[in-house]
């Protein structure tokens, strides 16, 4: 069997090109066979993550610690089965109708970014879904809020009839 020598500076004779070059693949196969089970055991196929959230401060500490200050109004995203609204205090700023099976997250993102620019508290938002809303939509809206720039997300509950308590 003829072998090719890479170190020699001379050109390979033409008859050597026709000869069969036998590469020993056994060591490489051995390495791969050991490496693959190891990598399979330490691989992560689904990556888990967390989204931090908290309850609105006026729920956890009513009125703060001895402070008589009224809690500042924060932008609220209300999720209802048929629509999603952006609310500030008692004013409904925007309303987005739900299309077929999902909310229009792009429109929500654009509107939230627009409203955020005019806000005093720019890093906090309240997501308030109604009782029947599936949790995957809540997570999606929280994602949108994070992307827009709201660092802190508060999760509250939206009532069916806001005037019922008055």
């Amino acid at each position: 069997m003829k072998t090719l020598s890479l170190s020699s500076k001379t050109f390979v004779p033409s008859d050597a090109m026709d000869a069969e070059i036998d590469i020993d693949v056994k060591p490489m196969m051995n390495v791969l066979v050991i490496l693959i089970p190891f990598l399979v055991s330490v691989s992560e196929y689904t990556r888990l993550a967390i989204i931090d959230m908290s309850l609105p401060p006026n729920i956890t500490s009513v009125g703060g610690q001895g402070s008589s200050e009224k809690p500042k109004v924060k932008l609220t995203v209300v999720l209802a089965p048929q629509y999603c609204t952006i609310v500030l205090g008692e004013n409904i700023l925007d309303s987005i109708a739900r299309k077929s099976d999902d909310y229009s997250y792009d429109t929500l993102s654009t509107l939230l970014a627009k409203r955020r620019a005019a806000l005093e508290i720019k890093d906090e938002v309240i997501v308030a879904p109604r009782d029947g809303i599936h949790f995957k939509y809540v997570v999606h809206v929280m994602d949108v809020c994070k992307k827009v720039g709201f660092e802190k997300i508060n999760l509250a509950s939206a009532t069916e009839n806001p005037n019922a308590g008055q």
Binding site: L35, L39, V42, S43, A49, D52, S54, I133, H134, D143
Partner: protein
Amino acid sequence: MPLFKKKSLAPVDHFGDTFKPQMTSLIDILTLLLVFLIQSFSAEGNLVTPSADLQLPLSSSKKPPKPSLMLELTNTGIIADGHQLADNKTFAAAGDLTVKNVYNWLIAQKTRLASTDADKKIILQCDKDLEFNIVKRIMYTCSKAGFTDFSVLVIEE
């Protein structure tokens, strides 16, 4: 003429030759596999194990989870430490938002954690199709027990 042809037991000539399997395609597959596995390699591993009873929602969040107190909110019940604390049907329509068994468990955990420096944050594992009514009641129960910071476990998109 014989019905069956007699098989010759004599060694065939070509068995004496060196048998060389075609390794190129095998090495190609192994190389591709190696690249894929290196891409999904994780030195840390999963510090949090998701429950098999629920499907976690997808999210673009990249924040890795840390081991913490965990509550699993499935479509049927609330599970903690492998034990079902409450059945969703029993409290979903109740007038009081507090879920008694969950509250008792949380108080026990709070007492246990009081002597340690462990994080007093709760990780909620919620099924993606779970109604918010259940989540709301559990969050309310947690806040009543003194846990106000939450994290929601999600699958990274």
